[in-house]
Every structure is written in structure tokens, then in C-alpha cells.
Symmetry: C3
Subunit: 338 residues, 3 copies
């Protein structure tokens, strides 16, 4: 297999899937059904795109069994989107980190660096740091004392891990991520805030991905915990002592206040805000821009955000919202009269 | 012209505007009408500030023709705020990046660096990177392989550009910006997320400004596109395959989910959240903190955010919101009875 | 006193508090009442936790006078949470920055560096920078020309301060913080934006803490001001010419638009958005995820966010919201008929 060029046969084997059409058809990339070029493979996920199946220029399409016809080359999969996800790695041309440890990298004493670890220029590694084999640490990362980084984990440029943070295996941390910064803990004495020193750390499981500029604070007492398989998008803020269950996915710009526990297999939409000291059970889906103010004990979909309206209509709604109390009283009066 | 010191005559010539008063009046800075010192020039934009025109200590004021009187020195402009914007560059004392390429800068093979390019200390530049003439790259930036940076573009300290990102001319990228990080793409198989490798990149036009810690993800298939003249504030998150039309301005903390297309000449207020896979036409204005849940096909102003009320009043509104359904039924009953 | 190990007597003396029980009881850490180990001290803040007082494994507990009994070791404090905050520093094991100035640090001309200052590897310091004694600047920070940093202030790794920013004493700036980036100033001419150069700077008082990846823009004209004792959480965006009064605390993901003035002793919840050019008086509390659209002149608690409901219920509320206008008309008709 040449990198980034495969026969349809090779892709079908990779997916353990059936193919229909020319097994020798050469595939050099992936395109969306409406915009794919010849030489690309596409996939039919969204019923809206069914109309493009007849006209696509893709050389092959991944489809469900019921969408196979005689007009093109197909890979047949029950979940074409998942099949696309699986082959995407084959066409990934993102460069790997340069092998080896750059001479400008600085280490504190007592570090244990696994075999085949890459560390890029101008990284600063603290004392007693352990980095597992095949990990990649890109340029400009700063790793605090006593940090542990699992094998095959990759830090993109300019990640900061504060002291004692523990990162599992096969984790991806994108640029600008900060893990282990102090939680927001202050106690008030006559109006003046006293800092509460943050004595815990952050524990991150395996197969976690953390998006660019996301921040995860260390625990005040005890640790902030991100379990295996959690996927975090960009610019998320996770407060101290938050616990996120395995395989939960959280979209961009979400904020989660301190000590909240989120279950497994949850999906949190973009821009959601979640208050502190609550518990969200497994399998909860929260719609984008919603606010979560208390615990959620039943799985299912929740929402509270209002989609935009033309400004003049919305201005009237705001007026009426302020009159709701009055409307109820008017209803009460009417009901008594009749 | 001494840097940062001009006669009123010189400023009028620079603006191609008429002046009234002393052409030799020396101007050394810009102040707001109510707080300006002697030696500063001010401007009258907001009618609220008209009252300060009589008492300002500014040595000259930029005003509309109808506000000229005999009491002071004026530059006359149809849009005083625009005139202020234009002269602001004359008083800008922000230091330029140090000339030349610092000896600590590391290059991959095959880079093409234009004439008069500045690159600050501890920058790491990948392979086959092209940087246009007069570009300024400040300290600690990390530039991936195959990146293209246009002429006169400036990267403030600690910007990261992932591989293959293309940046136009005269672009400003503020500190902490990350461009080209992986989009949030995952496909679910029995609860476990499979990463969708992000095969596209990010294309940024000319005259774009990107605020501090803003993140722009690379496309999954195809590219994320920011057209010419787009202005992005701080801490904005732009998902994969988003397309932002020319001359659109977006305020801080906005999140835009994947594959959404925003038109030209739009203005998006701070903290707005925009869902994925929708289209917003040209000339749309979205009020701050609103949520956009579906496509907008007509220009104009849209909103959905609720301004704060005293807590006790708001708590009643929340109670009544939950009773809206019941209120409608009560109305129905009443109408049937009468 | 061994670091991180104290007798109960020593802690009581440190707090100037009374103790009851064994003064020689050895305390090596802090735990929550329900999860503490033997050897840890805990505290009773939340009445919900009262039930754990009988069963806790903590070796001592900080309680209010009314909660003292004969069953355990106590420190007696009117505000146990504040007492916990005060002793937290004793158990803080966060490493200090390495002493001295690392040989890789680069300085511009004319800097004044106080005694006992630490500066970590690969920091880049501009011209005429003044750093007060005992300040700690960690790895990878970039400090612009003419910056002033007060004594005992600590910059965690990868902080950027633009030119002329002034930081007080005993300030903590967490990783990824950017202070002094350009405010979002643009003037429109026939659809095209002209940049307004940002001529002011940022002034930060003493005892301020700024969370990871928070951004504070420099003033357009005049300065952005953060007064003494302000506490800012992570991922906050503060626009140009904002003024935040002393001892105000702001939680994560808040955005404050330009020229807004916030009073002293305010508390702003997470994810709040505050519009520009308004004034919020002293002692205002804003509930999380709310939107502030105009000035607030009276102290007290304000809110406007809606907590999530199950999706189907919320979908009905949205339908009814759009019908509010109609409901009022129906009420009017009914009232006329009766």
C-alpha cells in the first residue's frame, strides 16, 4: 500500500467490508458526495445527500446495503460514516513529530523517557517526569515535575502540563491546552478573597482527545478526573474536581464548574454551561448553548436555549416575558368571573 | 512628521479633510472627548458626548460639518469615528518586531523566506514553509510544514499554525491563536468514539485580524475558509469546514460549529453560538449571547438572548415559563366557555 | 514545622483558633469530610455534610463552635471554610520556579531585574522591562517592551504580556494568559473594516489572580484596568477599556465587552456575557450564563439563564414563547367580552 493511495479492494479488506464494482479502482483521497473528485472515495451518511449519488464524481462510495445499485463502485457498510472514520487514518498526511529528542530540550533530574519518544525543540521538562514509549511531545511544550505521560500520547506544540498531572495512553492534546492549572478556589473574609491552594491534580485516561486552548484545572482536594475515551473539543473549561465519565463527548466552548460529575456516554453540545456540585447521569444529551443548573438523573435529551428570531419579534417576546406574571393573574380573574 | 507628533494641518492632509482653526496646532495623541488632555485630538461620534464639546480639553476635535463652531480647532469629516480610526495608526507606539531572523530560530528544510522578514527568538518553523516579504513572526511561534504566510502579515508571540495552513497578506494573528488544529470529528461505534482524521486545512485571506487565543480548526474534508477582511475578536472557536464571508466581524467568545457558512458583511455579537451545517446569508447582524439554530436567509438583525432581571423576578418568570403550556389550555377553556 | 506535616496545635496557632482534643495529633494533608483519610484534617462548611461528622476518618475537623462534640479532634472557627483556605497554603506542594535566571533567557536593553527573581528557560524579555524582587517567570513567557511586573508576582509557563502592560505585586498569571493584546476596534467604511490602533495598555493591581488562557485586551484610548484583589478564572475575555473594581470575582468563560465598568465586590458567574459601554455598581451578583444588556445601578443578585428541561418539554415552551403575543391578544379579547 502506497501511503495515501489504495485500491478499492484494499480499503474493503481494511474495513472487512464487501465491495461491489471494480476492485482495482484506485483511491487517493476522500471527498464529500457533492464535491468529490475522480480518484476519491465518498460516503452516504445523510439522506439529504442521496440525490448526489447519481451525479457524484467520486470513484467509489461507501453506502448501506439498500443503496447499492449498478451505476458505480461501492463499499457496503451498515454505518458508512463509521467506515469513513475508520479509513480516514489511511489518508492522513499530518506529519509526525520529528524523531528523537531535540538538543534544545531541557530536562529536570530523574526523568524516565521511554524508547522512541520524540520531543521537539524548546520543550522544558520538569523533574521526575515519566514519558511512555512512542510518545510525541512537540515544540514549546512545558511539562511540570512528576508528570506522567502514557505511551503513544501526542502533545501538539505549546501544551502546558502542571506538576503531577497524569495522562494516559494514546491521548491527543492540541496546541494551547493547559492541564493542571489552579482551580478557582477563594474564600471570602470581609470582602477580600483568600486563595485556596489547589492540592489535587488531574488524571486523564487513555484514548482521550483534548482540543486547542482547552483548560482543565487541578483538584482543590482530590483530583479532577477525565476517564478513558472522553473527547473534548476546543476552548472548553473544566473546573477543579470535575469528573467526566468514559466515552463522553463535549463540544467547543463548554464550561463545567467545580466538583460536577458527568456520566459515561454523554454528549454535551457547544457553548453549554454546567453549574458546580451537581451530577449528570450516564447517557445524557445536552443541546448546544443550554444551561444546566441542577443534577440530571435520567438519560435522555435536554435543552434550554432559544434560537434567534428577527430582532423586532424577539423584542416583543421580551416584553411579554416580563408580563407573564400579569398574564397569569388576568387568567385567574377571568376564570373566577366565569 | 515626527513619530506621534503632527500639526493639525498634517492630520487634515492625511485624512484629505478640511480643518477649521489653527493649522499649526500640535497634536501628540488621541483622547476621548471627556478625558482628553491638551495636545490630544478627539472626535465626536456618539450624540451622548455632544455635551462635552464645550468643555473638552482636547486641542482639536474631529466632527461632522454640522457640529463645527467658533470655539475650537476642528477637522471636519462626515464620519468622525472613521477619521479617528484612520489617524490612530499615526499615534501607534507598539514596537515592531526586531528586524532579522534570530539565531535561535529553527527551520525545516526547503523553506522560502522573503526579504525583510522578522522572526523572533525560539520560533520553530517546519519544512517547506513560505513566508512573504516584510512578514513579522514574533517569539515562540510554531509553524508547521508546508505553511504559507503572506507578505506584511504579523504573528504575535506564541501563535501556532499547524501544517499546510495558508495565511494571506497583511493579516494579524494575536498571541495564543491556534490555526489548523484538528476539527472535532468522531464516529460512534457501540458507544466508543473513533477519530475522524482531519484531512483538510485552513485558508485565511488578506487583511484578516484574529484575536488572542482564538482557535480555527482545519477541515475534515476540504478546507475551513476565512475570506478577506474578516475581523475576529479573542477566544472565538471556529469549527472544521466553516466558511466565513469577506468583511464579516465577529466579537469575542463566539463559537461556530462545523460546516456552517456565514455570509459577507455580517456582524456577530459576543458570546453567540452558531450550530453546525447551516447557512447565514450576507448582511446578517446577530445580537450578543444569542443562539443560532437554523439557517438565516434574510439580512437583518436577529436576537434571542434575555437580559438579566433581579433574581426574584427572574425566578417567577422561570416558574411561569414552565406553566406556559397550562396557560394556553386555560385560555382555550375560557374561549370555549364564552 | 516539617513541610506538609503539622500538629493540630501548630495549625490552631497558625489560625489563632481554639482546639479541642489532642494537640499532638499529626496532620499531613486536607481531605473532604466524606473522603478524608486518617492523618488529614477536614472542615464542615456545608450543612449537607453534617451527617459525615460522625463517620469521617479525618484525624481532625475544623467546625463552628456549635458543632463541637466529644467524639473527635476539632479546630473551632466561625468560618471553617475560610480557616481551611488559610491552612491550604501549608500543604501546598506545588514546586516553586527554579531559582535564578536561566541562561537561555533573552533580554532587551535597559531591563531592571530585582533581587531573587526567577526566570525560566526560553523566556523572551523586551526592552526596559522592570521585574520586582522575588518575582517568578516560568518557562516560555514572552514579555513586551516597557512592561512592569511587581514583586512576588508569578507568571506560569507561556504567559504573554504585550508592551507597556503593568502588573502589580503578588499577582498570579496562569499558563496561556495573554494581557495587552489589541482590543477589537474597527471602523466601517462602505463595508470594509479599518483597524483602530489600540493606543492604551492594561494596568493590573496587586493580589490579582488570572486563570489559564484568559485574555485581557489593551485600551483603545486610555487603559484597561483591573483593580487590587480581583480574581479571574480561566478562559475569560476582557475587552478594551474595561474597568473591574477591587475584590470582584469572575468565574470561567465570562466575556466582557469594551468600555464596561464593573464595581467592587461583585461576583460574576461562569459563562456570563456583559455588553459594552455599561456600568455595574458595587456588590452585584450575576448568576451563571446570564446576559447583561444594560447598566445595573442597585446591588443584589441578577439572573436571566434558563435551566435545561427534557427536550420535548422545552420544544413546547419554545412554541409557546413564539405565541406569547397571540396569547396576550386572546386575553384582551376575553376581558372585553366579559
Amino acid at each position: 500500500m502506497a501511503n495515501g493511495e489504495y485500491t478499492l479492494q484494499e480499503l474493503a479488506v481494511f474495513l472487512s467490508a464487501e465491495l461491489k464494482g471494480d476492485p482495482n479502482c484506485r483511491i487517493t483521497g476522500i471527498g464529500s458526495l457533492d464535491q468529490a473528485f475522480s480518484g476519491q472515495i465518498s460516503f452516504l451518511k445523510d439522506p439529504h445527500y442521496f440525490k448526489y449519488l447519481a451525479t457524484t464524481k467520486a470513484s467509489a462510495v461507501i453506502v448501506k446495503p439498500e443503496h447499492v445499485n449498478d451505476s458505480a463502485n461501492f463499499i457496503i457498510a451498515n454505518d458508512p460514516y463509521l467506515a469513513y472514520a475508520k479509513i480516514s487514518v489511511l489518508f492522513n498526511d499530518a506529519p509526525k513529530a520529528a524523531p528523537g529528542i531535540h538538543p534544545t530540550v531541557l530536562f529536570g533530574e530523574g526523568c524516565e523517557i521511554g524508547s522512541n519518544v520524540s520531543i521537539g525543540p524548546y520543550c522544558v521538562i520538569g523533574r521526575k517526569v515519566k514519558i511512555g514509549e512512542n510518545a510525541q511531545i512537540e515544540a514549546g511544550c512545558v511539562i511540570g515535575d512528576d508528570v506522567v505521560i502514557g505511551e503513544k500520547t501526542r502533545l501538539y506544540p505549546r501544551v502546558v502540563l502542571y506538576h503531577k498531572v497524569k495522562i494516559g495512553k494514546c491521548v491527543l492534546l492540541h496546541s494551547g491546552v493547559v492541564i493542571g492549572s489552579d482551580g478557582f478556589g477563594n474564600a471570602n473574609e470581609k470582602g477580600v478573597w483568600h486563595k485556596i491552594y489547589q492540592l489535587g491534580t488531574v488524571l486523564i485516561g487513555d484514548d482521550v482527545e483534548v482540543g486547542a486552548n482547552t483548560t482543565i484545572d487541578r483538584g482543590a482536594i482530590g483530583d479532577t478526573i477525565i476517564e478513558d475515551g472522553v473527547k473534548l473539543d476546543n476552548q472548553i473549561q473544566i473546573g477543579h474536581n470535575v469528573h467526566i465519565g468514559a466515552h463522553t463527548a463535549i463540544a467547543g466552548c463548554v464550561g463545567i464548574a467545580g466538583s460536577t460529575k458527568i456520566g459515561r456516554y454523554c454528549m454535551i453540545g457547544g457553548g453549554v454551561g454546567i453549574t458546580g456540585h451537581i451530577e449528570i447521569t450516564d447517557g445524557v444529551i445536552i443541546s448546544g448553548k443550554s444551561a444546566v443548573g441542577k443534577s440530571i438523573t435520567k438519560p435522555g435529551m435536554y435543552a434550554s436555549s432559544i434560537p434567534v428570531m428577527p430582532y423586532r419579534i424577539w423584542a416583543r417576546v421580551l416584553v411579554r416575558l416580563a408580563q407573564l406574571e400579569d398574564m397569569v393573574h388576568r387568567l385567574n380573574v377571568l376564570e373566577k368571573k366565569i
